[in-house]
Symmetry: C2
Subunit: 337 residues, 2 copies
DNA sequence: CTGAAAGCGCTTACAG
DNA sequence: CTGAAAGCGCTTACAG
């Protein structure tokens, strides 16, 4: 069977291919009868227009590329969910392209993406949202992009973030209100802007309550479960042992919980544990983790929706939005004994 | 700045565009000096060929589409990891396209994908790997596809599976060897072929050890954590309470563990719990879950690698491979008290 | 309301 | 070893 193209349809329907194209794109200036004739031919020949040909003619691919390098798989899943929602609403498709932030060939890797495909726009997720090198590259290539959860890099592009500093403040405040003063903190990945933001929120809450900051209570993690295990070990070995631990994400908090359980510590009676992100694991373990719910799906959906609308008609005003995070209290935090 | 195309390069280098195309594609029959001249022009003009134009001319997109509908996010993440590895090795890109198996418009949804993009091939993951309607559709459209973890549907296409029945047999055998006879079982999603396979393995182990099968020990889950909670409730309410629970995946097993912990049951002393998949959560919780490690990434990578090679040159022999699953024992299972 | 021509940026098939 | 022509399947810009 031969491939059916706009030409087959045109000749079969006895019209020009321009008219077929008009019907295809719902353009005006086609008589009702002609339109119907063409529509029937579509069905008869089982015609389906080639997106590649349209792409070449219009210089568009209807593809959004998602660039990420994130130790938290569940974060990526949520990003994808949000991005897909926006794409589906707009007849776009989503291409995923993980990159290694610290790889030798980051920019080459992204260039590679554009050599093999040509997304109409890129959604940048942490840590790339704040990575000047990548942002500059996209700008130099004139590729539309949107940034999710950026915090530090000033850039007049589409940006949707949540208030990490405030979230970290609130959860620390929550621990303080429960009577905790010795609150250990596990930092996230140093390349992620959220890491500094969450640390800031922690510091602000301590300061506001006149609690002395102690460097020995702070551990360097990297958002991975594994790094949480290492940090937990150091923290639980401290003497006196802190009465609470605030980890910069739920994976690391889960690691603290696991290690504490292994050591027969009772959570929250012996030690309170809090996380960040409201990842699935936060409610899948026992006790459930007190955490900060970030609207990751919503942030990404908003960012991609704006990106797509910007692609069709570039806007003057850059779209910048900050969504609020929300404290979720579960069983892992309690009043100090 | 004007867009630089094969024409700009050709005229700038003083050759025909066919020659430029030859250099681009590393074809022979270009003199070393000409090749170098063209290569230099590439750099000088910062030329990057248009994948869309090439796609139209070659009728290829260098895109693989991944179709899925899976309640387990971590499974999807692993599928993506494997598919991406294969794509990257072959200069392909990965498009993700979730579908609702039970949505009214499943086929329309997939058709939609082909109206907005045109992947060169499709990788089908559970439950679609065994879904005749989808397979038939792709076949009718002459779209190359590969199936991951299919178990029941006979189809002479590229298929990579793991031995779910044997894995389930082994983990049940493991529980039996620990002295358990009252082993509850939580089924997976009825639309997934793995569900029946895992149940079969459970039954075979019981039979082989002359343990009577009891219907009341079997709960219907759907692979989601939430369904695990419901099933766990019923199981823990049984009297006498089973001494072990084998859940068809780790999420549901984690749910059993959480509920047991909430009820102050000690795992594994009061009750042993086993899962399936070796999802991250299996090692992130305490006690760690005894489970079956399935090589999901490897299965998908193999499937996509074969798919891509089949796209370039269709093979006669269909590629069919079965990988073995492996029992991982952790702290959640122990000798019966 | 309709269509013929040119073009998107490449490759294929052929000629020399 | 090199290139002119035609074509991939659409859209754009223009003419009527």
């Amino acid at each position: 069977m031969k491939k059916v193209t706009i030409n087959s349809v045109a000749s079969h329907a006895g019209v020009s291919k321009k008219t077929v194209s008009r019907v295809l794109n719902n353009e005006p200036n086609v008589s009702a009868s002609t339109r119907e004739k063409v529509l029937n031919t579509f069905k008869e020949l089982n015609y389906s227009p080639s997106p590649i040909a349209r792409g070449l003619a219009q210089n568009r691919s209807f593809i959004i590329g998602c660039i990420y390098d994130n130790p938290s798989k569940s974060y990526i899943t949520r990003v994808q969910t949000g991005a897909l929602a926006a794409c589906q609403e707009n007849n776009y498709n989503l291409l995923i392209h993980p990159c290694e932030l610290r790889g030798e060939a980051l920019i080459e890797n992204i260039q590679q993406l554009f050599q093999t495909s040509r997304p109409d726009g890129i959604v940048l997720t942490p840590p790339f949202s704040d990575f000047a090198e990548v942002v500059e590259f996209l700008k130099s290539k004139n590729i539309p992009y949107a940034r999710v959860a950026s915090a530090t890099l000033k850039d007049d592009s589409i940006t949707v973030r949540s208030n990490d500093e405030q979230g970290a403040f609130e959860i620390t405040q929550h621990l303080i209100e429960l009577g905790h003063k010795q609150i250990a903190f596990i930092k996230g990945h140093p390349d992620h802007s959220a890491t500094a933001q969450r640390f800031k929120g922690y510091l602000r809450a301590l300061a506001q309550n006149n609690i002395e900051f102690k460097d020995e209570l702070v551990e360097e993690g990297n958002f991975s479960y594994h790094s949480g295990v290492d940090s937990a070990r150091s923290i639980l070995d401290l003497s006196p042992r802190p009465t609470a631990v605030f980890a910069s994400n739920d994976y690391m908090a889960a690691a603290v919980l696991k290690l504490a359980s292994q050591r027969k510590l009772n959570v929250p009676d012996d030690i309170s544990i809090a996380g960040f992100d409201n990842a699935p694991i936060a409610r899948h373990i026992w006790p459930g983790l007190t955490t900060i719910a970030q609207p990751v799906e919503e942030m990404t959906k908003q960012a991609v929706t704006q990106l797509i609308s910007h692609i069709s008609q570039p806007q003057e005003e850059p779209y910048q939005l900050t969504l609020e995070a929300e404290l979720i209290t579960r069983e892992s935090t309690a009043k100090i004994n």
